[in-house]
Symmetry: none
Subunit: 306 residues, 2 copies
């Protein structure tokens, strides 16, 4: 029975590619391993596997009685519910240390870098195992995804060096354009309704007595949302009225320009000016350098509404 290697629930590209890579490496070191996934692949992950001719891992949600290796997580809540009934042989990760514990010694490679695949590249080197071209390509994409093409605050020098080496193995001559191609898939808005797009990543807040909704759409270029912007704004009106909200904001975040166009639909537009020092022009305001709802938008609005 193969050892199962899997990433977290709602798997992202790192979870999928790390599982494939670790299963390859460990199998070549003599431990028969199989990559699996806890759930449906994202369009981005499908694009990556297609691009490098790799098969999607089988879906597995129960691991009782199995031997397993965790990648890209060390939290019980992100693992299968019956993980306690499996034997954990190893963890390869790049997050904070979670609440997984084991009754037996195990192998952990956990580094404070931007992506699990950066750690796995070092493991291939450490064991002197040759990296297959297609797996190197998938690992490269995973790092580009997790580090938002090196723009994320979590990106380290180790991630950049790993990408250079992986690009060499995979025969990728232009790392940035591969990253852009992948993020365009992630950014695609043409297959979703305006309502789906608003609620892709949406939260309601209570701020100084006002009910304020804030959604976020991350795209590789704002031109992608241009054709649907009017439809989004019309749909925001319905969302605002239905929920009895005082304001609905939609962050259109351009990951390459590193800023956000904030679509504004508010009973009172004054808090926007208070929060960001700029007035709304027409239906929106450009916020340079604003990428994070949690860290940059919510705290400012809370002060402005408070």
């Amino acid at each position: 029975m193969s050892v199962l290697v899997f990433g977290h629930k709602n798997p992202d590209t790192d979870s999928i590619c790390a599982a494939i890579a670790v299963a390859d490496l460990k199998s070549k070191l003599g431990l028969d391993c199989k990559p699996v996934t806890q759930g449906e692949l994202t369009p981005e992950s499908k694009f990556v596997l297609d691009k490098f001719g790799l098969s999607a891992p089988e879906t597995v949600t129960s691991v009782a009685g199995q031997k397993v290796i965790l990648v890209d997580h060390s939290d019980l809540a992100q693992s299968p519910d019956d993980l306690k009934e499996a034997e954990i042989l190893g963890i390869i990760d790049h997050h904070k240390l979670g609440d997984v514990t084991t009754p037996n010694p195990l192998e952990c490679w956990i580094w404070p870098v931007g992506c699990t695949c950066t750690v796995i590249k070092a493991m291939y080197d450490f064991y002197g195992v040759e990296l297959p071209k297609n797996i190197a390509g998938a690992m490269l994409c995973a790092i580009l995804s997790d580090t938002v093409i090196f723009k994320s605050a979590t990106c380290t020098e180790d991630d950049k060096k790993a990408c250079e080496a992986l690009a060499g193995i995979a025969g990728v001559s232009d790392i940035t354009s591969l990253g852009m191609e992948m993020f365009k898939v992630k950014s695609a808005v043409d297959k979703d309704t305006p309502r789906d797009l608003i609620f892709r990543d949406y939260k309601d807040f209570s701020m100084g007595g006002s009910k304020v909704g804030i959604g976020q759409l991350e795209v590789v270029d704002l031109s992608i949302v241009e054709p649907v912007k009017d439809a989004l704004y019309e749909e925001m009106k319905k969302v605002k009225e239905e929920g009895g909200r005082n304001a609905v904001y939609l962050m259109l975040t351009d990951i390459m320009k590193e800023g956000t166009e904030l679509l504004v639909l508010a009973d009172d537009p004054e808090p926007v000016k208070k929060a960001f020092g700029k007035p709304v022009e027409g239906t929106s305001v450009w916020l340079d350098g604003v990428m994070s709802r949690k860290k940059q938008v919510v705290p400012n609005f809370e002060k402005a509404y408070g």
Copy 2:
């Protein structure tokens, strides 16, 4: 302020030597580190540091507000009581994964090998940092101690290879005779009180709601402990009562016969039978081939108590 590097409470030779080695390696990689100990050194550890001309680490029992790296453990109970108020930068270990968690990403090197110093030897190689002769000698002793000169069930090929390489660096021509010299120091029972002997290598565990203490005394021949066995048992009673423990076990491990006489003081002796398939006779039970608390005693007890 230096990053503090330390092993578990009641430090053994691996905890001391691993702290010294990791502090050396990390400092050379640009992170200012200082090895410290949570408690008094054993006679064995003192012998090892003397032999290779190394200083004993300073004792530190509170780490609030400090940056720390843990070696040879990942359990909260084995770390300083205020570990939660420290920032954990890394864990280098060879045990089961304990209950330490972190709010931030960190660096973990945890391998299923016989000794932390085997992992650290690989880290020096990985980073291409030269190992000082005296630290190599101390690391060699730590591996010989943890693997009982390669006789322990926890000993792996990695441990043996690390010892060969470390002996080469340290200029040790006869590994076994260095090991025997060290174990004779370790075996001495005439200079310690019964309490000191119980706590020479002692750990508390929480098993299925029971508080279980397990100590281990390794000797070259069981006849060495025969004159103090009654006194040990009387002292175990005090230890059990003081700590509100449900059981206190003392492993008297004969490294030449390769087995353990387990002294048993338990509210319920049934877990012993469940764990090892043999009933307690009088105050103890002979466990043939059992050398390792970590690999042979703790997992069996955890199942039996669980």
